[in-house]
Structure formats: structure tokens, C-alpha cells
């Protein structure tokens, strides 16, 4: 007898034949239940709307895979959770592979080509060792995860019933499923080791030391007085227990959040899909947006089902943090519950998702950025807002702003003729790009042109351009609000009107490149405008400053020692990945940049975006996002200046200083201000 014949696992060790048969029957049942659930889900996805504008490419899929395998999205920002999930992920994967190998070896090769069976000999030893390692990883990961819920009691893993959200599953139901999922996998892992222990105790093969934990369990059983005889007799029971729990888990997957193990492979590819940032088109038809559950695309339905309730979107959402009624996680859970059991003639916005949730969103994209499985919260919210706008169900103030934008092209309700008023106090005249060609066409944006707190900064940038000898001009009355935020408020038609006017004016004006002092306009110009002819490359003013300083056109004359922190605007950072130019500028000025805990793609929204700046504050507000943010800046040792690069930030944070009483401790300054001091 060759050694390889011995060093192998007796798969149905000491089991009566009928039990083996029963096992195969149970397998069939479990697979049947799984297939049924999965088929129902997949059929629902397949019947979902298809958005021809949102295509999955191999590249995106590859990016998704590259993020999933090392659990990158989970590790980012929460190493504890990341490591725990990595353990579970790879542990589970290992055990899954192990089980599959056994299946192939024992249920296929054994009958067809027995000489090809491979689970024996030294390969078996390595296999055993790896399988045990996987089990240990799984157990460790599960314990770490359980601790987050039981020991650390992380607040974002808790649920609350929400007013008006009757489709949001009850907190207890959600929590039960979370625990069941964790616990079940735990039982499975423990059961596996027990089974191994019993088998080893019963057969006592010395080579099984490779199953290092299983061996220990066997030893422990022996120490506890279990004879190999008794182990042999009990084996069938332990085996049955393990087999049943495993099969039941398989059957449960399509009926629970365990489904994410499959769905996420697909959805993760959409996290970096451009449409998550530039918004998909509204479905064809009357409603203007998402009216009913049928309007959801198949992909979006997979996204909803992929949600694991990890709570990251919830924990980092400025609306949730501020005490607005919205929680992106609850939104996803509500839609998911409804989509799997829809009620006819129920409108999504208002009927399923309370309107107040939808209006709370600042479109900051933090949820999308944080979501490990690639859920599209922002597109979903905007689609439902589009429906509300089409129905005329919107906030009074927002409505006024829309009227102003329609009529005057700015949200301030000012005459378009007042747009260039800010230039009057300048000692030089800015070129009118409508009349003469310029190198650099500057789109100021509304706040920079109309808000008296911002116009000094706007003039400052004009002076800097002038000083650096840049040939630049503006569109005077012809510029319109970029429409970026009104689009996010759900008024697509108005966005198009504004875009058309801007595109016409910009394309007519001779220019080499576009620069804007407004990150929201930056995003729209760069990624969302539909140009008919050419237009210049779009730059944010911090990029221009960076370039001018770098090329020596704006020499830094007075470097100043200062400790500052910098706020990444959502539409510059998360939307466009522009993080370094402003930081380079600050360093060039001699400033020491102290990062806030939430920086770059984890930056915390000021609360102004997505049309929020035009809406009424919720009455239940706990702490405005801007207040939260200035408090964060104020915790940094020795930092007295919060540098911003967005006009709305200036307004929001200066206001927040007043309401938090941090005036005097912290100053909010536009980066232009610091450059002016250092170069003038």
C-alpha cells in the first residue's frame, strides 16, 4: 500500500450508506433553494430597466476585481474592519476552495477517473494545513466583527425606525439578520473543526498534524475522555450537524445579505463608473425621473441587494451627521426591501422613500466613495428628486432659486447685468471675452460674482492673474450659473437651458483654456457639458495658481511660517480627484499643511452642495455639516487658518465660525488670499 493511499481524508468516514444518500438529497434541496432564490433575483435584475448610457466595461470590471481581492475599499479608512473582513473573506474563500476540491476529488474523480484523484499524499498535507488556516482566519475575522457589534457597539451599526419609512425593515429584523449571518458562519467554522477533531480522534492518523487546529481539537477531545470508539460513534451526528448548517447557509444566501458575496463582484465595478459622478439620464417618459420601482435599472437593483449594511455611508454622510432625516444606508435598505417585494402603484419618492430624505442630500458623494460594494446613492437620490421636481413637489426656497435661475441665470435673483459688478472696484478693466479673444477664459460662478463676502477674493484672483501677465477675460452678463447644483436638485431641463447658454457663449469667445473659481462649475464644464465645437481645457483656479507659482510668473516674495489646514471641496476632490495642486500652492507659500483627520477623498462636506444651499434647514438639525467641519479644523494643534478653494465653502465656514463660537480661534481664508499676501 502506497503512502498516498493512506494520507487522505476518508470523506464519508464511518457513515452509513443511507446517510450518504440523505446527504446528497439535502445537497440537492439546498442547491434547489439557492437556485430558486438566485433565479428569482436574477430574473428581477434582468427585467429591470436597462440604461444604455451606463455600460460595464472590462476595465471597470478589472478595477472592481482589483479592489475586491485585497478588500481595498473596506480597508480604506477603517483598518480594523478591513482586516476583519479580509480574514473572513480569505478564510471563507479558502474553505470554499477546499470544499470544492473535496467535491471534485470525491464526487467526481473517484467515480470517473480514480487514478486522477489528488487529495492525497503531501498535497493533502498542504491542503489540510491551508484549510485549517482558512478556518482560523474565518473564526478570527468573525470574532473581530462580532466585537464591533457587541463590545464596541459602533453607532453606525445600529438601526432606528424612521418616521414615514414604512418599507424600511424594523431595526430588530435587520439586527437579527446581521447576527444570524455572523453567527451562522461562526457555527460553520466551529462545526468544521469539531468534525475534523472527531474524525482525527476516531482514526488517529499521525499525518493529520498538518490540520493543526483540527488535531488540537482531537487532542482536546481525547483529553476530555472521549475514546476513539465514542468518537467514531458520535461522528455521524457531528457530521450531520455540520453538513446541515453548511447546506442551510448555501440555501439562505439569496434570501439574505449574504447575497453580497455574489452581487458585489458585479457591483464593485460601478463604483468608479463615470455615471456615478456625472449622473445617468432620466428614464424616458412623462415622470422625468424615478416614479416607480420599475424605473430602477437592473444594475441598481443588484446594487441594492449588494448592500451589507456596513454603515459606512451612514457614518460619513453629512446629512446623517447633521441630524437631517436622511441616512443613505436606510435609503438603500428601504429601496431594497421594496424592490424585492413591490407594492403596485406606489411612487418611490414620497411613497417609499420620504421626500425629506431625498431633499437632505448634499450630493457630496461621500457615500459612494465609502461604499465597499459600489452602491450609487447619489444617482438614485437625484433620479427620485427629478420625479419630485416634475411633480412640483419641492421646497419653497428651492423653487424660488429655480425661478431665479430660469429668469436671471443666477440663483441670487439679481439682474444679469449685475454679474460683472464685482469688477468695478478693480484698478484695471477685465477683457470682455465676448468681444476679444483671450488666452484664458474665466468662468467665475455665481457666488464669486454676487456674494459680497466672496467678491474680495474674486477680485484678488483677478489681480493675481493680472500681476502674472495672464491674458484673461470674462463673459460679463453672458455667463450663467453652471447648472451643476440645479441638476442635482433634479431640474434637468433647467440645467440644459443654462448649459446651452454657457456653451454658446463660451464657444463663441475665442480662448485657449477655461479657468473657473467654482468647483461646481469646474465639474460641470469638465465632465457634464455637451459641447458642440471645441473648448479649452478646464482648470480650477488652484491649478492655475500652482502653475503660475511653479513657472515663476507669480514669484513668492514673502514666505511665511504658518500652520494651516485645507478643506477639499467635494466637487474638486471626490468628484475630480484634484487634491495636489492646492497643497503644492500652500507648500510653495511656506505654509505647513496639517491635514484634518478627514481629508482628500474622505473630506467632509460643508453642507452647501446638491442644491442644499437653496433649501430650508431641517428643524431637527443637530449640528450643521459646516459646524462639524470647522470644529474638526479647530482640533488641530497650532492651526489657526482653514484654507478653502471654493466660494461656497468660504460662506459656509465663515458662518459656522460664528455659530460655533470659534471666531477668533480659527480663520477661514480662501487660498487666493494667502497667495496675494505672499506675492504682493
Amino acid at each position: 500500500m502506497l503512502e498516498t493511499d493512506i494520507i487522505a481524508r476518508p470523506v464519508f468516514y464511518a457513515l452509513p450508506l443511507w446517510l450518504v444518500f440523505a446527504f446528497y438529497l439535502a445537497c440537492a434541496a439546498a442547491l434547489g433553494a439557492f437556485s430558486f432564490g438566485a433565479w428569482r433575483k436574477v430574473r428581477r435584475y434582468a427585467r429591470g430597466r436597462v440604461d444604455p448610457g451606463v455600460k460595464l466595461t472590462w476595465r471597470l470590471f478589472g478595477q472592481g476585481l482589483a479592489a475586491i481581492l485585497p478588500n481595498r475599499a473596506i480597508l480604506a479608512g477603517d483598518a480594523y474592519a478591513g482586516i476583519a473582513h479580509l480574514c473572513v473573506f480569505w478564510g471563507f474563500a479558502g474553505l470554499f476552495v477546499a470544499t470544492t476540491l473535496v467535491l471534485v476529488d470525491n464526487d467526481f474523480l473517484r467515480f470517473v477517473v480514480p487514478q486522477w484523484q489528488f487529495l492525497n499524499g503531501s498535497f493533502y498535507l498542504v491542503f489540510s494545513w491551508l484549510a485549517d488556516l482558512s478556518g482560523v482566519l474565518l473564526l478570527a475575522g468573525l470574532l473581530l466583527l462580532a466585537a464591533r457589534r457587541s463590545v464596541f457597539r459602533l453607532p453606525f451599526l445600529k438601526y432606528e425606525a424612521k418616521e414615514g419609512a414604512k418599507y424600511l425593515p424594523a431595526p430588530a429584523v435587520l439586527a437579527r439578520e446581521d447576527w444570524l449571518f455572523l453567527g451562522w458562519m461562526g457555527v460553520l467554522a466551529v462545526g468544521g473543526f469539531l468534525l475534523e477533531g472527531f474524525r482525527i480522534r476516531a482514526t488517529e492518523p499521525s499525518f493529520e498534524r498538518a490540520s493543526f487546529l483540527g488535531w488540537q481539537v482531537g487532542e482536546a477531545l481525547a483529553a476530555a475522555g472521549l475514546t476513539s470508539e465514542a468518537a467514531r460513534n458520535a461522528f455521524a451526528f457531528v457530521w450531520c450537524f455540520h453538513a446541515l448548517t453548511a447546506l442551510a447557509l448555501v440555501a439562505w444566501i439569496p434570501y439574505s445579505k449574504a447575497w453580497h458575496m455574489l452581487a458585489a463582484w458585479y457591483t464593485a465595478a460601478f463604483k468608479h463608473h463615470p455615471a456615478a459622478r456625472t449622473l445617468p439620464a432620466a428614464p424616458e417618459g412623462e415622470s422625468g425621473g424615478y416614479a416607480r420601482v420599475e424605473d430602477l435599472t437592473g444594475t441598481e437593483q443588484v446594487m441594492l441587494d449588494a448592500c451589507t449594511r456596513c454603515g459606512r455611508c451612514h457614518a460619513h454622510c453629512p446629512a446623517t451627521t447633521a441630524g437631517f432625516p436622511l441616512s443613505p444606508r436606510d435609503l438603500v435598505q428601504t429601496l431594497r426591501a421594496f424592490a424585492s417585494r413591490p407594492v403596485a402603484n406606489t411612487s418611490l419618492a414620497g411613497g417609499v422613500v420620504p421626500e425629506a430624505w431625498l431633499w437632505s442630500c448634499t450630493s457630496c458623494l461621500s457615500c459612494v466613495e465609502h461604499c465597499p460594494v459600489g452602491v450609487w446613492h447619489v444617482p438614485l437620490i437625484v433620479q427620485m428628486r427629478r420625479f419630485l421636481v416634475a411633480q412640483g413637489q419641492l421646497d419653497k426656497r428651492l423653487q424660488e432659486s429655480m425661478q431665479n435661475l430660469t429668469r436671471y441665470g443666477n440663483s441670487f435673483g439679481s439682474s444679469p447685468r449685475a454679474r460683472p459688478k464685482w469688477t468695478q472696484e478693480l484698478p484695471f478693466k477685465i477683457k470682455d471675452a465676448r468681444k476679444e479673444a483671450v488666452d484664458c477664459l474665466w468662468i467665475t460662478g455665481d457666488y464669486a460674482a454676487f456674494d459680497p463676502r466672496v467678491t474680495p477674493v474674486t477680485r484678488g484672483f483677478a489681480r493675481l492673474l493680472n500681476q502674472a501677465g495672464v491674458d484673461f477675460g470674462i463673459l460679463y452678463e453672458a455667463e450663467q450659473n453652471s447648472g451643476n447644483d440645479i441638476r442635482r436638485a433634479g431640474e434637468e431641463g433647467l440645467f440644459e437651458v443654462l448649459m446651452d447658454k454657457n456653451v454658446a457663449a463660451i464657444e463663441k469667445a475665442g480662448h485657449q483654456r477655461l479657468v473657473t473659481t467654482d468647483p461646481h462649475a469646474y465639474h460641470a464644464l469638465k465632465n457634464e457639458y455637451r459641447w458642440t465645437n471645441g473648448h479649452g481645457r478646464v482648470a480650477h483656479y488652484t491649478e492655475v495658481l500652482d502653475e503660475l507659482i511653479g513657472s515663476g510668473k507669480l514669484p513668492v516674495l514673502h514666505k511665511r511660517e504658518m500652520r494651516v489646514t485645507y478643506h477639499d471641496p467635494c466637487y474638486l476632490g471626490r468628484y475630480n480627484g484634484l487634491y495636489d495642486a492646492p497643497r503644492r500652492v500652500l507648500r510653495a507659500l511656506g505654509a505647513t499643511l496639517v491635514e484634518m483627520p478627514r481629508n482628500r477623498d474622505r473630506s467632509f462636506c460643508c453642507g452647501a452642495g446638491g442644491g442644499r444651499i437653496w433649501m430650508e434647514d431641517s428643524t431637527e438639525i443637530k449640528e450643521r455639516p459646516a459646524e462639524n467641519r470647522v470644529r474638526e479644523a479647530a482640533t488641530l494643534a497650532g492651526v489657526t487658518t482653514l484654507v478653502v478653494s471654493c466660494p461656497k465653502d468660504l460662506v459656509m465656514f465663515q458662518d459656522a465660525l460664528k455659530t460655533t463660537g470659534l471666531e477668533g480661534k480659527l480663520e477661514v481664508k480662501d487660498i487666493v488670499h494667502l497667495v496675494e499676501q505672499a506675492t504682493g
Partner: protein, 262 residues
Amino acid sequence: MNLLVLLKMVPDVVEELEIASDGAGLDMDVARMALSESDDHALEQALLLKERMGGTLAVLAVDAAEVDDALFTALAKGADRALKVDAGEVAQLGTRALADLLSQVIADGHNLLPVDLILTGTQAIDDLDGLMAPLVAHQLGLPYIAIVIQVTPDPARRVASVVKEYPGGVRGRFEIDLPAVVGIQSAERPPRYVPVAKVRAAMKTQRIETVQAPTLADGGTVLAEVKSMSKPEETGRAEMIEGTPEAASARLCGILAERGLV
């Protein structure tokens, strides 16, 4: 319920107003026209009534710059018909002449009669020679009430219950026989926003009926002649009251008393 809303375009005061070279009118090349604010409320109230009680809703206006926008917007919001009276040189007409024109058009038919309620704004910023609602009521021989913030028709009894505003938050409830002309101060809710897409759709699928201006009996005599116009002295900044707090408060008290505020 047959509802008719009278709309009027007025110069948009958000824009700088310029005086024409003759010194007796606005420079209409510079001015932009906008729907009178309280007319917008009248339209909203009519839309609410139509939604509540059914029936038809027509809007009627005399031609003016940007009136088409206002009419298409009304159609997009849910009006059934929009009529525009083509009266040639209209910008110069006073409210009285406009009211005469509109009353004549209503009386002439155009399928606007029978009507149960005629709604329009209580007052417009350029109602120099009279208010639209009472003038139309007078011409058509209908009862009239204004500064109304709530209208509840009772078609069976041919009456409407209306609530009008008095000073100091007091309101008064009246009963008015139908048909009637009601001047709306503000609708029950702010005028709705209609998305651009809907207005565009209305422009494509609906049309504005143009009505030739009827000839008026008295030829639209001008009864109030604007001799000159001027801009009030540009202050821009507050007039500062100097002196000790005692003196300043006394002075301020005087100013308030002058205006009947104390």
C-alpha cells in the same frame, strides 16, 4: 367650475429701470417684463381650485413682451387654454385700458363664457390709474372683492366663501355670489414651480389663441396723464443719524412718528 385668470405683465424691478428720452415713461428697450406677482398667485389659486373641483381653466392676457412665456408656463402648469389679446402698441396702455380690452374680449365670447370665477392679482406695481379686478368687475357687472387669501366655491349654491386679509393678522370671511371677480393677494400655497421640460413640452404641443383687440367705445381715453418720471434719489446707503444715543433715539422716534409708526 369655469375659471378665468387675467394675467398682466409688469416691468421686472429686479432689473434697473431706465426712463425713456421723453421723460414720461420707461425705456421699454431696457426693461424686461415679468408676470405680476399677485397674478401668479391668482393663477396658482385657480390651479388649486381646478384640481379640487374640476372644470376648465383659461388664462387671458394682453400681448406684451415675454407674455408668451407666461402663457406657456400657465399651460404647462395645467391651464386648459391661453388667450392673448393682440392690441398693437400695448406697452403704453394703462390698467384701465387693459381692463376695458379684457372685459370686452370676455363679453365678446371666445368661449370664455359662462364663467364662474374670474381671478386676478389684487394689485400690480404699475396699477397707476386703477386696479384690474374692480375695473373688470365694473365692466362686466360682477361682484368684486380683493386682498383675498382663500376661495372656497360652492357651485351648488352659486356662491363662494372668500377670506380676505385685514391689518394685524385679522382676516375676514365674506360670501360672494358667483360669478364674481376676485383679487388674489396670495394663494394658499406659493405658486408652483413647473420644470423647464414641461414648459418646453407645452410649447410644442399646445398653442396660444390670439384674439384681435376689440375696438373700444371711448377709444381708451387716457384719464391720467404721466407728465414726468424720475428715479428717487439714489441713496444706496442708510441716512446715518448722528449724535448721542439720546439724541439719535429722539430723532428716530420723530421719523417713526412722521410715518405714523408710533
